[in-house]
Assembly symmetry: C2
Homo-oligomer: 340 residues x 2
Amino acid sequence: MADTDFHAQLAHYSALVRPVMLDAVPTSGASRYLYEPVRDFLGQHGKGLRPALCIATCKAFGGDEKAALPTAAALELLHNALLVHDDIEDESLERRGQPTLHEKYGVPIALNIGDAMNALVLRVLMRNLPGLGPSLSWKIVEEFNHLLLESLEGQALELGWIRDNAYDVNEGDYLTMILKKTCWYSFIHPCRLGALIAGQQHLERFHPFAFLAGAAFQIQDDVLNLNSRAGGYGKESCGDLWEGKRTLILARAFERMSSAERGRFQRVLAKPRSGRLARDVDWMRSVLDQNGSIRYAQQVAAELARRARDEFDQAYASAQEGPDKRFLRQFADFMVERTT
Amino acid sequence: MADTDFHAQLAHYSALVRPVMLDAVPTSGASRYLYEPVRDFLGQHGKGLRPALCIATCKAFGGDEKAALPTAAALELLHNALLVHDDIEDESLERRGQPTLHEKYGVPIALNIGDAMNALVLRVLMRNLPGLGPSLSWKIVEEFNHLLLESLEGQALELGWIRDNAYDVNEGDYLTMILKKTCWYSFIHPCRLGALIAGQQHLERFHPFAFLAGAAFQIQDDVLNLNSRAGGYGKESCGDLWEGKRTLILARAFERMSSAERGRFQRVLAKPRSGRLARDVDWMRSVLDQNGSIRYAQQVAAELARRARDEFDQAYASAQEGPDKRFLRQFADFMVERTT
């Protein structure tokens, strides 16, 4: 059970990383339509899960907190860069309770802002050189290159399914997609990187724990997307249905709905986002609820989190007891208990 | 005067780089909507000016051709990545005589493809490590980080002027913008990088030559955009006017047009691209022609190319005579003589 200590610890890691991240943003150079919006966006901070995983793992294996900060800050910055482009790709309206950057500035400027945030990731990683030396600093860049390409490959799968209006996406396809889109960059590599900086080898030991926790996180995210009213969650309600995303919930529902329902789903999802009506989205939401698909996804997320907890003990067997390991142990629970 | 040797040499450099670039593209992983389009796009190759500058400079200073190839390939790959996002930002319809990627696949998938090409740049640069060692490899990454941020800052300036429907952009503003948007990544850094790999110091010696050649190139590009009929140039005719771009031609024309003409320009450019009519664009084109602004830009480009030739002798004073230096000497002429 994640407790108040968990949230205090998460806020602590986040506070360590924020100045390192903001310090990489130039103060001049096309500021009005570039670096000022970058600062604003980074200021509406998210939960900071990725840097927390990285720092906590580093410290739990006896590594130095300071040594992990540039890498942790780069993870958070990359996450923000991906969000800006994701929001354009998904035509999302809200992010962290604010209009998305492309709603504020238009697609061209928002796209360019995302590119700049992505470029600043490398700028932060270059800060590793004096402290970690060239060999370890290069290894970290290689880890980033892998996590980014995996994420873009996962995004290509998801966007391809929407473009093809695919109806044959099954649970296995969905898990492959979220492994690529979410788990590598948000969970697996943050653990790997923290351990790497602490001088650990055999980094693949973190994969089962981090994949399971990440999958639980993403499925819970899909559930929250449908179950939250506007405001609390920071994104528009039922955004995934507006966007036609192929989630575990939708895959499950497709197997269980009547052929009449399936036909109406296909007609609604064949339209572009702007052609869908609020009453279509409300109706889809009610079908997913009534045939038990949302509840099913919640159960899957809970089961994945339980298995992640079991894997935790393996992955972190040689880590020191203390606040960092305690935080990491509570991590899997937080994946499914969170409401935002 | 650029001769047939120049074009043969350009094709030679390009052929060296292409396999290195394509070798970095994975063969699996969301291929249909990611790496297959990347391969297709890279297959419709451009002129290859950036890798040519890099390799020729490296060799002219006694460096090894092979040592420059990953860096040269990374420059060409980054250029392609920027084109994909630029085309989305500009709502361009054609590139290299084909529909742009967002016309083929939609904005979401094209945006993601551009992100992947950008990520692959680092993958190519990681190939430098065995040959060049960690210290020089890091320096090259730092050069790339600078050239990319400059380009994104220049893009932010240009997009901001369009968004603000700005009419006070003067010749100096335009030159600052193209220094950032084009010259650093396309001319200055390719020379710097080639010399760096050849073991040279004092890399700022290339800045005057490369800035002047780059500015001549960009202004000639603006002229070709207005003077070419569809087909020959590979982009739609008068695309810059459809997109509302603030070019030297437009800045000059604004100073010289009647207040009635200025009023109509402002009304037309205040509309979104989709609201402009072909007859508005034709009319704008004819005003720019008749008040001598296109001719003026051609004269400026020729003068910048002449000054670039003068600066060449300074920058490359200690370089060895031979086919590479001969190629570089002809470079400035090619900037203004080219028709595509």
